[in-house]
């Protein structure tokens, strides 16, 4: 043991240590053959039960069991009995040791699985022979297991089923499977609606009278048809109807389809292109083999192109994106025609359409335009929308589902566990066909513990309750009955009328609901206990994204009026307590709920104006319909959603101005400046320096009308801008500078940018300082040339910018990487620290390797410590091959993180960044004249 200094690691010391170390890698000996007996048995099972597994050799000992356990992982199944799964490398080796069809079959037979095991079944179908398994009758899950089995046996036994064929079928079934699950096995009734759909799509059975009528209509009005909307309240069966229709026709292959649900993550309300990308995936499964692979290739190409385009969202990038959208439609349509011809109907089913409608009328409008373009290119396109809300201002064919028909209601009950058709029929006869009523009734029967399979098992009292109910108050009565089943009276109180709160948390139970609901809740543990009990009432509440509980939306719609009517004083008290609770807290969620309760208790919306911020919009969106009309109009203006026309009749001028701004912004984002200008005309009066001016100037900028754009900017800034929001004024100044510069008036542009920068600095608006700082430096660089006076102005502004920005927190520099790079190119020498910080946060553009090398040499020369101790730097300086995959640039990034940058190196790098930015500019021209 020595306490001395560490011996420096010279090459000689290293050689000595390595020579004394002997072989460094020691191979682990493989386990003996006797260790494999359990693993071979487990290899043919997807999962196994450790206690019940029989080894291949019945004398296998503890060593074999230990080897199995060491190489298995537990599988979470949500049941009490723990299952295990063999690791894949060991599984493959165990199968290789089994080595033949016979041995694999024996292993399968040794451990029969009462509850089925997909992998075992698939291995049996391969090993059981004779010949290969028939793929055609296999269900989706069987195919998935067969693919796994086939991949495992590759190279072990010969003559396996084709992986390509299995994968193709899995893809096909993968599109159909969700529809099967939606339609279920109990679909009944809805004959009339199915015929309406068939008529619309054009796939009526041949020879029927309706087919002849349809042919005549098609002849008269051409093949194009407007979209068809299936509308009705939630749970009425819109998706089920669509699924059933598609399934009926998919076998006949007489219709091409794509079923898309706006609830799914692959679709985006704001990006209609995503519809075609997902449609292409589904169409690939309906095409023949050659076309299918073409569709898959195209889908990958289009996805890549769209992802790149999605990152461009402003200015010329936006225009390019819109033009890319048109091209995508063309290419998609061409491929549909090429694969399926012109006469095949293409059913585009768009489910949960209300997601689009509720998000914004402008998104819906963009989607309509998109569908119109698609329909122009594909006359046999048949778009079916399923949604809760009616569609205004668009021509649509309508299928309205207001209640289930008797047969469908019986199917609904059967799918909810009432398997006896007679029992279901009796319930429908007495309760009617509303899905909400039926599901409440089923819930009561479930809670009463009666067997749902037969009414014979239902007690007389229950039967009397269900069968003698007053139809008018049926849902309310059923709801009350569910409440009465809650055993803990405190939880009952919280559920009614406590669920008037949009969200319930343990803290809200303790501090808001306790007093109005007449509860003594002494500590957080008790509140947590009540919360857990309420969470277990899954027929009443759902868990929301943030862990709170929410009233189920279908129940809330029907039951909120009942709660207000039943206990008006307690409901008012809950609002009061909730306002006090949330007002004392800072989060967006608290602000949103404070506003909700203030508006719900009838406060004037102007009174909540001070508390409003944009982040509240998504938190209040789904609650707007619960509020009084005037409050609805206020929130519609703030959030940008559609509300009842009655609400707009009570709106203030400011609400209308906000609404117009929302519309104009969305239209500008969609690349429709002319429509935005039309929308802006709807607001008669405008706030001076306000956002409507900004929208108007942006529209003129997009239309390339600089004089008008500048006129609007000047008009907006004419009155004292101090009254207006500084954000809007700064944006107006930046826009003015941009428009001037785009038309060659660099001097005026630089003055505007200067003005904006000083205002931003005075108000400490960090993002605006970065953007306007970059803009003015870029403009001054363009002007400077060899003019000394201008160069001096540039340097003075650069110094000023560097001094200001170095004070800001590093996170402020990440706001706009493009601006950060422009600043970086000008301030290098003035502030090497800031240069390095920018390089870390915004990243360097691609620089020329020889210039990077020169800068590193200079850096080494100037640096007190020198960079020679850094192997990577040394290699670059000695002009060896750059020692990282990123080459000299990679080395530079590492050096910036490890060593302080010197002034000369920063100047050289700044100049090189400027060069790179010039190369990256779309025109390929220098903005500057240096």
């Amino acid at each position: 043991m020595s306490n001395g200094r560490i011996v420096p690691l010279t090459p000689e010391v290293l050689d000595q240590r390595l020579s004394e170390a002997g072989p460094l890698l020691v191979e682990e000996p493989p386990p003996p053959d006797s260790a494999w007996s359990y693993a071979q048995a487990a290899a043919v099972l997807g999962t196994f039960d450790r206690e019940g597994l029989k080894p291949m050799d019945e004398d296998a000992g503890g060593e074999s069991l230990a080897f199995l356990i060491e190489n298995s992982v537990p599988v979470a199944e949500g049941t009490s009995s723990r299952k295990w799964r063999l690791r894949s490398g060991v599984r493959r080796e165990a199968l290789r040791q089994l080595g033949s069809r016979e041995a694999i079959r024996s292993a399968c037979e040794l451990n029969p699985q009462a509850n089925g095991d997909g992998l075992r079944g698939a291995l049996m179908s391969i090993a059981g022979g004779p010949g290969q398994p028939d793929l055609r009758p296999l269900a989706y899950r069987e195919l998935v297991a067969l693919r796994e089995a086939t991949m495992l046996l590759e190279g072990i036994i010969a003559d396996l089923p084709s992986l390509d064929a299995i994968s193709g079928l899995i893809e096909q079934q993968g599109v159909i499977e969700p529809l099967r699950l939606l339609a279920g096995s109990n679909f009944r009734g809805r004959q009339h609606e199915l015929e309406q759909l068939a008529e619309y799509v054009g796939v009526m059975p041949s020879g029927t009278l309706r087919t002849l009528r349809r042919s005549a209509r098609t002849f008269l009005r051409g093949s194009e048809r407007p979209p068809l909307l299936i509308t009705g309240p939630g749970g009425i069966g819109k998706s089920t109807l669509l699924a059933k229709f598609i399934l009926d026709h998919v076998q006949q292959r007489n219709v091409l389809f794509a079923y898309l649900d706006f609830d799914r993550p692959v679709l985006s309300a704001t990006e209609p292109e995503t519809i075609l990308l997902e449609a292409a995936r589904q169409i690939a499964t309906q095409a023949d083999a050659e076309d299918a692979s073409r569709w898959r290739e195209l889908q990958a190409v289009w996805t890549g192109e769209f992802t790149r385009a999605a990152q461009e969202s402003t200015g010329s990038g936006l225009q390019a994106r819109l033009s890319a959208r048109d091209k995508l439609i063309d290419r998609f349509a061409e491929q549909v025609e090429s694969s399926f011809g012109l006469q095949t109907p293409f059913l585009l089913a768009l489910d949960t359409f209300e997601e689009i409608q509720y998000s914004s009328p402008e998104f819906a409008d963009s989607l309509w335009q998109f569908l119109d373009l698609l329909s122009d290119r594909l006359p046999m396109l048949r778009t079916v929308l399923a949604g809760r809300a009616p569609i205004e201002n668009r021509r649509c064919e309508i299928v309205e589902l207001d209640a289930l028909d008797d047969e469908a209601a019986i199917g609904f009950l059967q799918s909810h566990g009432v398997s006896d058709p007679e029992a279901a029929r009796l319930l429908v006869k007495h309760l009617g066909c509303s899905p909400l009523t039926l599901s409440l009734a089923v819930e009561i029967m479930r809670r009463d513990g009666c067997e749902l399979s037969s009414l014979a098992d239902v007690t007389r009292q229950q039967r009397l309750f269900v069968l003698n109910m007053d139809h008018k108050t049926m849902q309310v009565e059923l709801y009350r009955r569910i409440l009465s089943h809650i055993h803990d009276p405190a939880v009952q109180q919280i559920a009614h009328p406590g669920l008037v709160l949009p969200r319930v948390t343990p803290d809200l139970i303790r501090h808001v609901l306790a007093v109005p609901c007449g509860l003594m809740i002494e500590d957080d543990d008790r509140a947590q206990e009540l919360f857990a009990k309420l969470a277990a009432e899954v027929s009443l509440v759902r868990r929301s994204d943030d862990g709170a509980l929410e009233h189920r939306s279908d129940l809330r719609r029907a039951m909120l009026p009942m709660m207000r009517e039943d206990a008006p004083e307690r409901v008012a008290a809950i609002h009061r307590y909730a306002i006090a609770y949330h007002a004392g807290r800072e989060s967006d969620r608290d602000r949103a709920e404070e506003i909700y309760h203030r508006l719900a208790s009838g406060e004037d919306p102007e009174a909540v104006e001070e508390s409003w911020r944009p982040a509240l919009a998504p938190l209040l969106r789904n609650l707007v319909a619960e509020l009084p009309p005037r409050a609805q109009a206020y929130l519609a203006g703030q959030i940008g959603i559609q509300v009842d026309p009655q609400a707009w009749r009570e709106a203030s001028r400011l609400d209308i101005e906000r609404r117009v701004e929302q519309s104009a912004r969305e239209l500008l984002d969609a690349g429709r400046p002319k429509d935005a200008l039309s929308a802006l005309r709807k607001a008669k009066d405008r706030q001076a320096g306000g956002p409507l001016y900004l929208c108007e100037a942006l529209a003129y900028e997009m239309l390339d009308e600089p004089a008008r754009a500048l006129g609007v900017v000047d008009k907006a800034l004419e009155p004292a801008p101090a009254r207006a929001s500084s954000g809007t004024v700064l944006k107006l100044l930046a826009l003015g500078a941009r428009v001037e510069a785009a038309h060659g008036a660099f001097e005026a542009a630089a003055d505007r940018a200067d003005e904006g920068y000083y205002l931003a600095a005075a108000r400490e608006e960090a993002p605006a300082m970065l953007v306007l700082g970059a803009l003015r430096l870029r403009l001054l660089r363009s002007l400077a040339g060899r003019d000394r006076r201008r160069l001096s102005r540039l340097q003075s502004r650069a110094r000023e910018t560097a001094q200001d920005l170095v004070e800001l927190p590093p996170s402020a520099l990440t706001y706009d990487p493009d601006s950060a790079r422009i600043v970086m190119s000008e301030i290098g020498e003035l502030s090497p620290i800031l240069f390095a910080r920018f390089a870390e946060t915004a990243g360097l553009p691609q620089l020329r390797p020889d210039r990077v090398r020169r800068a590193i040499i200079q850096w080494n020369h100037e640096s007190r410590q020198g960079l020679e101790s850094d192997a990577a730097a040394l290699a670059v300086m000695e002009n060896q091959e750059a020692p990282t995959p990123g080459g000299a640039m990679g080395v530079l990034s590492g050096l910036l993180a490890r060593h302080p940058l010197t002034a000369g190196a920063a100047r050289a790098l700044g100049s090189e960044v400027r060069h790179a930015l010039r190369d990256e500019s779309p025109s390929g021209q220098a903005d500057e004249i240096d």
Partner: protein
């Protein structure tokens, strides 16, 4: 007895001699361990010493503390003797740690003697995830065998060192091909110590994924500590569409509106749905090359505070090439084991008499 074992009391005693006042100890911890003991205590000297020893023992930082003491107070004879005794105890009990970094994101050797070669993009991306800078999803892409799964080791290391997030990982290669999305959510919920989602009662099966993700995300967002979910194995199997949609939904939710949830997908080769793809962090792992080994040993020597001369690095790389027969595209585990063995040989604490 763990940590310093029977030597703990003597160490505390000699530390109070070596650092006569709390300020000196605070300064030592701050300068040499990048540690602010005031976070734990602001009391008298003895409290500060106990806090320092507790910090070392509870986080597996014993060797790091001893090395820092050698560096800072090598003139204090009694302290150096006690340090040597403690080092010998750690060696004997197998608790000696021969490698650490001040910044856990920089670690190039991880638990279980796994080497992490290069992976600067991964380190940067994980830093961003940890710093809550707005991007909550990371996708690691790369050919099979290049080390996508290795990324998990760094996440596990960060979890152990930072202790400021919960971690759940799922390797799709180890779940049955016909696994239900709900089973995967249950697995994640169990690892994060949150309640399992209730079984679906009614409604539409394709929307169950939506409900499962809501359940999981709801509990994650309600907790104080962020949760990182790592899903691995996409480069080894072809997951079913339901599983792909579950994972996509989770990533979509994390990218769009979560504060606490982070999702890391390892070996995911396909594009994510376009709007999501544009909002995630990426790392593409490139094939291994000799230069990467240079970087590894350079970085390692810097961490050990040894000047990384090009000659030493070259000899280390050549030794590794002999061990793995110059095959950089072969078994990554073998290359990793070789690199760690060489690093360990280089790091043996030989001292001047």
């Amino acid at each position: 007895m763990s940590g310093f074992g029977p030597n703990r009391a003597a160490l505390v005693d000699v530390l109070s001699d070596a650092f006569p006042n709390p300020e000196m100890l605070h300064a030592f911890a701050f300068m040499h361990l990048n540690l602010n003991i005031r976070k734990f205590t602001d009391g008298p000297l003895l409290n500060a010493i106990i806090a320092l020893v507790e910090w070392a023992e509870s986080g597996g930082h014993e060797s790091r503390l001893l090395a820092a003491l050698r560096e800072a107070r090598d003139g204090h004879e009694m302290l150096m003797i006690q340090v040597a005794i403690c080092e010998a105890h750690l060696e004997r009990t197998g608790a000696a740690v021969w490698y650490w970094t001040a910044d856990p994101f920089d670690a190039c050797i991880l638990k279980g003697h796994v080497a992490l070669f290069n992976r600067n993009e991964l380190r940067r991306a994980l830093k961003q995830l940890e710093a809550q800078e707005g991007r909550n999803v990371l996708v690691v892409r790369g050919e099979r065998g290049l080390g996508c799964s290795h990324s998990l080791e760094l996440v596990v290391h960060l979890r152990a060192q930072l202790r400021n997030f919960r971690l759940a990982s799922v390797d799709l290669e180890t779940v049955p091909a016909d696994v239900e999305p709900r089973s995967i959510v249950i697995d994640i919920a169990q690892q994060l110590n949150i309640a399992a989602p209730p079984p679906p009662r009614d409604g539409q099966a394709p929307r169950w994924n939506h409900d499962l993700v809501s359940w999981l995300v709801g509990d994650i967002e309600a907790a104080d500590e962020p949760a990182w979910i790592v899903i691995d194995g996409f480069d080894h199997i072809s997951p079913r569409q339901e599983i792909v949609e579950l994972v996509t939904s989770l990533a979509e939710r994390a990218a769009r509106k979560c504060v606490k949830l982070r999702v890391i997908l390892l070996g995911w080769s396909a594009m994510l749905p376009p709007p999501l793809e544009a909002r995630v962090l990426h790392e593409r792992i490139m094939p291994m090359r000799r230069e990467v080994m240079d970087d590894f040993f350079t970085q390692f020597l810097e961490h050990k505070k040894q000047p990384p001369s090009p000659e030493t690095v070259r000899r280390a790389v050549e030794t590794l090439e002999q061990e793995v027969s110059g095959d950089y595209v072969g078994d990554l585990r073998r290359i990793s084991a070789g690199a760690v063995a060489i690093a360990r040989t280089m790091a043996s604490p030989e001292r001047e008499p």
